[in-house]
Subunit: 281 residues, 2 copies
């Protein structure tokens, strides 16, 4: 049985009672409109903890002024049903007022500086990661989990949160979960439902281009050429490219000719929808 | 018996074992060089918890570039002895590297916006409260106390921390402790030891002027006149005044003629030493 909680007092009482029994608690933070990617996170959380809390909160502070906060899909009833089916114990659904008692504009902000927030999504979406850190810190303090799970689809977000947790020394473990894809390779995302029919048909090109980038790197092609070819291929497929890059796993630029683990990352718009994807190798 | 801990693993293990036994944990954050004011906090903490942790850490991020970080007095051995005598269970003495693993300049910062950080100390010491919030959040996450005690001498700091805890929703209670004074009225402070003989003789004027401000407000004098007289009196006593003000308890400017609880706050330099004090009424 899942319990839906909207009051912080009730949340704290439940988590406290679990901890008293020696149970480990996992948190899966979400913005709702849940899909198979989220449910996989919940099932994975079960393997790391006795109790799984999923938060459902569309966070205003991580949307830019021209982004899709208002039209971001909100489906609370379906979310709770899906979470229950996935074996989640508690759906934490706070209000904006609960999360930001002094208002969104007067809220205490948390800023992770450096490369990890400055490049890629940080460059395309100024203030986005401040908003993510600001809300995730509150969720950690509200739920006090032993472990928190984040999907690798938001690859840079995961890196930022790892740095946030290490730096502020939150007493919890961060686990990154693999990307869940459709049969045609498209990474699952709440934004996929914005896609028109032709856009949806083109969208799997993102994953195809990522695999080509991996193959080109494996074949020893220069990184800049790999990135240029990827951007060109996406352009031909009808995308407007934000970035198409190969990076070290910590998102620093690789030194040419040096071996090591890499990640290819893409962000591109098709129609009015912005999609991101990545591939580690 | 007090235990001195410098490793986060050991700290977490001890606190975890206490919590398993159902014990309540209090935190008294300090910058060391402890005096009766701190020891009073420790004894008071005992009344709210079964175990008392005092942190001793001179925090570089709350000192400005022209402030006294390097010459701030460090007396770790005397601190531990004093804490033990006051009944403290654990002295948490992290290194700068432990507290700021990526370095002081690249650290994740926490900013409380608004009046509470903008005025008075915030205006005199830009970035000071960011540094306070940045270190206090780490201490909360390291120690995970049920209750944290802060002295009212740093009146504005206490207000900022209350807002930080309410906003980020740290799972703990903040308690403000009364100011401890010398017989002549001077508030206990680590900075008092910087004072030369003549400066030390003049220093109790701060408390005298605060009492005069209280009396003048009680007599119905206009606030601006009270503040001007206070600044003039301090100037005559040899101080260079940063501010001498009457505020509402939340540090907002009082509306003239309206009754309510107030606090008078002073900051002034004597020689090269900056002292602060306040009085609620």
């Amino acid at each position: 049985m899942i319990e839906t909680v909207t009051e912080i007092k009730r949340l704290r009482a439940l988590v406290r009672s679990w901890k008293k029994e020696g149970k480990r608690v996992a948190l899966v933070p979400t913005m709702g409109n849940l899909h198979e990617g989220h449910f996989t996170l919940v099932r994975q959380a079960r393997r790391h903890a006795d109790k799984v809390v999923a938060s459902v909160f569309v966070n205003p502070t991580q949307f830019g002024p021209n982004e899709d906060f208002d039209r971001y899909p909100r489906t609370p009833q379906a979310d709770v049903e899906g979470l229950a089916a996935a074996g989640c114990d508690l759906a934490w659904m706070p209000s904006v007022e609960q999360m930001y008692p002094l208002g969104v504009d007067m809220t205490t902000r948390i800023s992770v500086p450096g490369t990890v927030t400055a490049v890629l999504e940080g460059a395309s979406r100024p203030g986005h990661f401040d908003g993510v850190c600001t809300v995730v810190s509150r969720l950690f303090n509200q739920v006090t989990p032993d472990v928190a799970l984040f999907g690798k689809k938001d690859y840079q977000q995961l890196a930022v949160i790892r740095q946030l947790v290490a730096e502020l020394q939150f007493p919890l473990e961060v686990i990154g979960a693999e990307i869940v894809r459709e049969d045609d390779g498209l990474a699952r995302s709440s934004r996929n439902q914005y896609l028109g029919e032709a856009e949806r048909a083109a969208a799997p090109q993102l994953h195809r281009v990522l695999r080509e980038m991996r193959a080109a790197c494996a074949a020893g092609l220069p990184r800049q050429l790999v990135e240029q070819s990827a951007a060109a291929a996406l352009g031909e497929a009808g995308f407007v490219v934000d970035y198409a890059v190969v990076r070290q796993r910590d998102l620093a630029e690789p030194v040419d000719g040096q071996a090591g683990e890499r990640v290819a990352l893409l962000a591109a718009r098709i129609g009015s929808t912005r999609l991101i994807d990545n591939l580690e190798f």
